[in-house]
């Protein structure tokens, strides 16, 4: 007798009905529900804000560094006109003397035309420099990493050309360095706050979304599922949610930076663009910025997944703890 014949047969009418098809097996954790969708939105929003902050802070840091770098790359020798002073010779001597110091790279004399252009906004066109006691400038480019001895250079210049004055921009550089550092620290502080808010929001939103699934954890636990199995089912589910959410938020932030960068390039040399560049620097976040956005997405995905795992394990632990606490039997399912 065949196995099918020995199995108990269901009650059926005379007419044979076609065999019913089983639908494709659904995941143990429901794929979409209100709390899951809400979590995805929360993750997307937090990822967007975190990535935006990260990009903005890296932009501010880059701008601060470039301010500092641009101004500290040059020093200026100023020569005041004086009776009997051959200005052109003095300019050449000053440049040559400065270039004898180690740590200098190049020297440029600001010629008469350039000096006139510099003064044009204040004194108008057609300026005759001979009529006015206008000081002349020599710009010396220095090696930022290995700057020359400014004190020795100042002394040598004063001894050779008493009318020369060396401006090493140290006062400005120091102020800018302080400001740049402060700006960078403020940026880091904002970044830490936003990331902390993101971590807390993601953790609590994940726990909130999981609390609606406690009955699933209980049933799985009571039909013999091991804690690791239950945790992995929830981990998979929450990993998908967090990847979708963080990708949406991160991609949106990347698009914002790409559009801002595109706008800046398109409107190059216009007053609006120049003002935006002066205030915020270049909108391009570069490869490191995009890598940071990707890292933020990974951090969020890991955070959500780990929170899901810990919460599930803790729920199972709670169920088992009730087991040894007879005062809490009301929390157990009715048998």
């Amino acid at each position: 007798m065949s196995e099918a014949a020995t199995r108990p047969q269901p009650q059926e009418g005379n007419q044979k009905r076609p065999e019913m098809r089983v639908r494709p097996t659904a995941p143990i954790v429901p794929p979409a529900n209100v709390s899951g969708n809400a979590l995805m939105f929360v993750i997307a929003i937090m990822a967007f804000l975190a990535c935006l902050t990260y990009g903005a802070v890296s932009m501010v840091r880059a701008t601060a560094a470039s301010w500092q770098s641009q101004i500290s790359r040059e020093i200026t020798i100023q020569i005041k006109p004086d009776d009997g002073l051959d200005m052109e010779a003095a300019l050449r001597d000053a440049r040559d003397l400065a270039l004898t110091f180690t740590g200098t790279k190049d020297g440029t004399i600001v010629d008469r035309a350039a000096t006139a252009r510099l003064l044009e906004p204040w004194l108008g066109e057609g300026l005759d420099l001979d009529e006015l006691p206008v000081p002349r400038l020599v710009i010396i480019t220095i090696d930022e990493q290995n700057p020359p001895d400014f004190g020795a250079m100042r002394q040598a210049l004063t001894e050779t050309i008493p009318q020369a004055f060396l401006d090493d921009h140290r006062t400005w550089v120091n102020r800018l360095v302080t400001m740049a550092r402060t700006t960078a620290w403020i940026g880091m502080g904002v970044l830490i706050l936003v990331f902390s808010a993101m971590v807390l929001t993601v953790v609590f939103a994940t726990r909130g979304a999981l609390s609606g699934n406690r009955h699933i954890i209980e049933v799985l636990h009571f039909v013999g599922a091991e804690a690791g199995f239950v945790a992995s089912e929830f981990q998979k589910h929450f990993l998908k949610i967090s990847l979708k959410g963080s990708f949406a938020g991160g991609a949106l932030a990347a698009i914002v930076f790409a559009i801002a960068g595109y706008w800046q390039n398109r409107t190059l040399a216009t007053p609006e663009s120049d003002q935006a560049t002066a205030l915020f620097g270049n909108f391009s976040v570069g490869v490191s910025g995009y890598l940071g956005i990707a890292a933020t997405m990974i951090v969020i995905a890991l955070l959500t997944t780990l929170t899901a795992r810990f919460t599930v394990m803790r729920t199972i632990f709670e169920i088992d703890r009730i087991r040894s606490d007879p005062a809490r039997t009301d929390d157990l399912p009715d048998t």
């Binding site: 269901p10 639908r23 097996t25 659904a26 209980e218 009571f222 599922a225 157990l332 048998t335």
Partner: protein, 207 residues
């Protein structure tokens, strides 16, 4: 700590045995079943399940022991997002079995409990009796060594109750120890089986 629900009980559930557990509401039937299902530890005394003192079983060993026990919860505990078929197959799925290896068995069992036409239906659409049968099928699917059922025929008509009872007896004949908690005297009268009567925390056994 609340009052003692059960005290001075001494009994055993022999392998391959069949018994009814009965008694008035509040007598402690559910508590006794929870103790047998390892979801509760006694405040004092000794409960041994599968030759293990349940008070000393480490947490990580509980799932393996629970796999040897089938349970029919009074409130069914079906997962609403899974179909009848998927709910019944759940214990096998969590054991890591391939669906192809159990599909025919699950479908056969569902037909036997009268749910052959409801395999793709979600629990919210099932009637109380259908949910109960699905819960019973889930408890039986892996042929447990011990089956615990609380009022398993409470929501079904007498013919289906007899049918389910014969299913429990068939399972018992194949080697499962069965404990059925019930108030239904007519159900108990259909089988010449051991009766455990709980009353005011005491247990009387009629072999």
């Amino acid at each position: 700590m609340g009052p003692e629900v059960l005290r001075d009980l001494t009994f055993d559930i022999p392998r391959r045995s069949f018994q009814f557990l009965t008694g008035p509401s509040g007598a402690g039937k559910s508590t006794l079943l929870k103790l047998l299902f390892l979801s509760l530890q006694p405040t004092r005394g000794l409960v041994r399940t599968f030759d293990r003192d349940i008070a000393t079983i480490p947490r990580d060993e509980l799932p393996m022991l629970r796999r040897r026990i089938g349970i029919v919860f009074q409130d069914f505990r079906l997962l609403d997002h899974l179909t009848t078929y998927e709910n019944v197959a759940l214990p096998l799925r969590v054991r890591g079995k391939e669906e192809a290896s159990y599909r025919a068995d699950v479908l056969d069992l569902l037909k036997w409990v009268g749910l052959g036409e409801r395999i793709n239906v979600l629990p919210p659409v099932l009637s109380g009796g259908e949910k109960q049968r699905a819960a019973i099928a889930r408890a039986l699917i892996d042929r447990p060594e011990l089956l615990l059922a609380d009022e398993p025929t409470g929501n079904v008509d007498p013919p289906m109750a007899r049918r389910l009872l014969s299913l429990f007896m068939e399972l018992n004949r194949l080697g499962t120890a069965v404990v059925i908690a019930t108030h239904d005297l007519s159900l108990m009268d259909q089988v010449d089986a051991r009766r455990m009567i709980l009353s005011q925390g005491r247990l009387d056994i009629y072999e």
